[in-house]
Subunit: 399 residues, 4 copies
């Protein structure tokens, strides 16, 4: 048992603002609900995620005071009485989706839509609007419920600390990008297009390579991000340039369509080519139907929302998009959506990291910052920096 009772975390302060503040030290409870199945973690690393930006930009109904952060790695400092297989001192990765391990969804491996952790709808996360009210982990300490079920323990803590820049990505973006590729049907020999070269897009590109793809093409409008993609063997397309996308793909592949398409952009998509910069929420999905071969699959890890108060038009405000669905139908496409069920993938991806099969941190350009640097990290990331910001609240990560 720890006797520490102080805590600090990154707090949403209204559109465009975050601040590091004192917050409550976590309890083994959420409101009146006891969490004897939970543990308290001393946070070792916690990453800033693109989906945090949706809130910080004021694109959601998030209220001021919300403690941010759903990408968490930490050391167990206290175990609830129902915790049996996780022990104090374990170094663990926390899946961003909170799951009970006892409902129909969890038993089917669909931990992204657990039925018991969010009264409003299936699925929950730490520090996120409408996701169950669980306190975020961009903090010194955080509580993780259903710890035996949720946590992935690293087999050797010392070895893990040496690879912590990579392992910290197991809580969200590596599995999320991987899930996008799996649902797009990427496998050995595939040709793949990844829409978006932010951290999730780059993680998807790494995943496509790990899955054996023959050629991975990444498209984005930020040159620095495309540089990252090329650094580990991807082909790239600069979407600020004019020209027909199919021509550009043919120049790379010798064919005008790809086998698999992964949308790592989501609803805040912008038009490309001469209109780049204008928000166009269905543009990536419509491109997917154009550029994916008949019989191909479209993986959609990028977030689409049920309501978007800041959308460009009324339809989009209600989450309605103008999709050229008939084109997809004519090509027998399938479309795969939703939050990644991290638990399905984090153990094998951990193994890939521990046995030096992938270098995910380099690929997404991890930059470790202190907790106090978090607001700055948010600002730089929002500005398009081709980096993945990893907060190190206790200064435990070696330089």
């Amino acid at each position: 048992m720890t006797t520490n009772t102080t805590n600090r975390g990154v707090v949403y302060k209204g559109a465009g603002k975050v601040a590091v503040e004192s917050i409550a030290y976590p309890e083994l409870a959420i409101g009146n609900r006891k969490c004897d199945h939970g543990v308290i973690l001393k946070v070792v690393t916690t990453n800033i995620c693109g989906s945090d930006q949706h809130m910080v930009r004021g694109r959601t109904t998030a209220e001021e005071g919300l403690v941010l952060g759903h990408e968490i790695t930490g050391i167990v400092v206290e175990c609830g009485r129902d915790v049996e297989f996780i022990q104090q001192g374990d170094l663990v990765s926390v899946p961003f989706n909170i799951a009970c391990g006892r409902c129909r969804s969890c038993k089917e491996g669909k931990t992204g839509i657990c039925l018991n952790v969010n009264p409003a709808r299936p699925g929950a996360a730490y520090g996120y609007v409408d996701m169950g009210g669980w306190v975020g982990g961009q903090a010194e300490y955080v509580m993780v419920p259903y710890a035996d079920f949720n946590l992935l323990k690293f087999p050797d803590a010392d070895q893990a600390m040496e690879k912590i820049r990579d392992l910290t990505l197991l809580s969200d973006i590596f599995p999320t990008g991987f899930h996008g590729c799996v649902t797009a049907g990427v496998g050995p020999g595939s040709t793949v297009y990844i829409a978006g070269a932010g951290p999730v897009g780059l993680a998807a590109a790494v995943s496509a390579h790990l899955l054996g793809a023959a050629c991975v093409i990444v498209g984005d409008m930020v040159e620095d991000r495309l540089v990252q993609a090329r650094s580990f063997g991807c082909e790239t397309i600069d979407l600020t340039q004019e020209g027909d996308m199919a021509d550009k793909i043919e120049a790379i592949l010798g064919e005008r369509e790809v086998d698999a398409f992964v949308d790592c952009v989501g609803f805040e998509a912008h038009a490309c080519g001469c209109n780049h910069g204008k928000e166009a929420p269905a543009t990536v999905l419509n491109s997917a139907m154009s550029l994916t071969r008949a019989g191909g699959q479209i993986g959609i890890p990028g977030l689409y929302v049920t309501e978007d108060p800041g959308a460009v038009d009324d339809a989009a405000k209600q989450g309605a998009l103008s999709m050229r669905f008939g084109l997809g139908w004519a090509k027998s496409h399938s479309f795969h959506t939703g939050q990644c069920p991290v638990m399905k993938y984090h153990r094998p991806l951990m193994q890939a990291i521990l046995f030096n099969k992938v270098k995910i941190a380099d690929a997404v350009n991890v930059e470790v910052i202190s907790l106090d640097q978090a607001p700055n990290g948010y600002a730089e990331f929002d500005g398009g920096a081709a980096k993945k910001y990893v907060i190190d609240p206790h200064g435990t990560v070696a330089a």
Copy 2:
């Protein structure tokens, strides 16, 4: 070799009109392309399909003179010189999708998007606009290319003739409905909603039962069709009635959502409840997202088109639909589109018929008519008759 050189067939004569006329006796060729791999069939049965109605209603760019019909069962009367395993006298079912058996798609089992049979796009069919120019089979005789690959031979012709009313449905609607269920993830114990109780919807409902579904709910606006659905154990919802769909589902299941949803309506969908009758092309897809449980799959055998000159608005004319995609994303839905690859299913479904496992003809209410009655059959079907019209051009089917 047959010496017969006369032939008659059902011909599209412009919006709202079909006629039975003399047409050319088939050759083992299409234009200049030789089809020594083809056979000529004496047609035993050939069914009128809902998708034929799209053309006959003038909803497509089909030209006058097109010979209709893609649901064909027949006896082989002549074999091209390169046919090796099919013989004269064989009684065979013809998949509506024409496939070469030699391209990448065919080798992957995706015969609905064969790359070698339609210069315009992947996928072809008999007697259908934009589907490769192959002559339709609502006729006395028809040519089937790549016969060794395409045809399903019934093991015993006499036994098959006794079940011909069932077996005739193997060319399209039984596999199509089945494919809808398979892609929706229907399995033992599933709860399923089938949108539409036309022949494909009823075939999907039969398929859901065959796949072991616990409860199959069928929704339509035509009472006679719902009567059909109830005749083989389905629950039904009359869409002309007011009321919340989730309430109606709860009254049947005790739960407000189904495990699996099959859209057997497609782009000519109409609003239900108080607005029933108004065309609303995305209404079924949006209902699917509302009524399917998180983690569920949505099978879409109903046709969505790339262009619809007769659509209610400009967006729909270009095949663009207003989809509440964010809702589907929040529930981790997947969407499965496209023509059914009949060959994937026709053999096992034939077995299910031959061993008396299913009674598909009764379920869809087959009515056998002569070739000369075909125009009348088209008219009655367009009027909403709860029947599946099967043309018997040679009077071979026992009364």
Copy 3:
């Protein structure tokens, strides 16, 4: 909380003997290991299983005093403090495999090989030798650990009691037979051979029908069991009769091989035809390779053991069988073994029962007996009675 502290159960008393005796009232613990995640059930029904017979016949190292019974349905009378979603008064089905819900196997859905419930090896069960030491449930009361994870709650207890003769089979044999069929690749239109018409074999035959099989052939040496199989539409082969098996299959199917083969016999197999009666542990597996078509799958729910002290020869004593593996290789067979992970199937199979899709109790010929009749039930079952004995310890099941 219940204050009852008496309990009675079926106890193994040495080779060939069982007796009903007073046993300890269950605690929320196993030895020193606390089970605050457990519940205590008042047993409503608990079935005698063929695998219990292996112990009772003295074919295992089971020690006298072992309380038997792993097929359990009951009402929750006490919940451990960490149980969150199961409540007192719930009527529940207990999977025979005990699983923690927190290890790698459980997270992968492989609850039959849970890593945390048996120090000796992966996988545990109630009342079974070498399966973790958990007390059996052929008793008035029993403790179930990890209750939130393991238990399947029936949605409506009154409705469930009306179908309790069917629902009681969800704890083992229905899922076990179903798993055999699933791993054998049974699906719509399949032809299937089920080796053995004991309760598991009959449950597999029901499952094959539920999965849409076109023709299900059941082989056994006991005519009464074959009568059961025919009662729900199976074809049967009497293995005491002379003649070539392939000939017999051809007489039924018109083909000499089946698509799928399910071995519901296991290591205590006996030769058929003129040698019937002689134990021949590999005979079913070798038949499977002969009678299954090239490319087919062989599901093996029947138990094969690592050691068999009572075996006919030294090799079999060490679990080594003489398999014609080269024949299977030439036909590209795959072989699927192991305990059924009941949790993967019990919910959908419950739905199939509750919506009247299957009549499993009639198929296996359930006979409800009192606890005191249990020893007699064991004896009759061992004598080959074509019945499934269901013990009703509290007289709760309506006649």
Copy 4:
């Protein structure tokens, strides 16, 4: 059309002997069966396979005069009249399994057990005893039937010739090793044991890496082969050394079992450790059950035969092996056997080669030899050389 009518090939001359002799120039026929669907290839490369050695060692009933060779890459010099999509001048890879593309097996993608190419049993190959009588391709020219279906055309012949040392392995060993891994369930993050470091074993190891395996362990008794395995990142175990296998695996992985096991040895297996050298046909299969974790899969591309006249005991002569099947059952293993259906994999693996994703030729240590050097190649390979011999009959491969 070519006018060449001379041909030379590698001919089996009785146990232990092969010779290069004049053989007939191929016709578009096999016996009386016309093959207008076939093409004649000028052989560019044709590899010596371990399974050829079974014949050459006299372990089969192969008759003298048989022309060897089933691993073939070539240029089309003549097309039968039914060939539509393959053209003269195409550079193509030939799957070793001959398949018609028109039977039930082929339509299901199971080209290794085609029903129409071998009167004796499902499945055929070039130049192999009991595999249909098709003439082998270790020759200057060879006939390939059903060319549109069987052949994989390289998209750019010049580019392909630059990678011909890699591409020549698409006809058998690369897909075969890959199939072993796929059926063993290898995926991202897996730990894998490959039994045998001959060319198929090394190809399996490359495949495991391509599939994303975290750690690939290869076991063999020949140090040179283990050197090859280490050259591309595998861990190795020298089977001539004493010691417990589980200990050796634990030293590498930190765990005593692997996730997936691939048997690339087959029926000519030898005992390891102190008994190495003694033939022990079930030893690899029994090791597989010991060393694979509960719930794991065992892929068995290594050949097991129905009859083995040269076996060590009577049981093995009839293809019967003494398997500890009960151990596999206790661990819920599945076993996957049979010839690799090359067509399922050759296109994606070609892509992986053409886009520089794998270096398979280096991994298996390809050595290009002339046709006249073939007998020497056989001898060296039989002696355990850690090489893959590729015959270049026309001297077309650049040095």
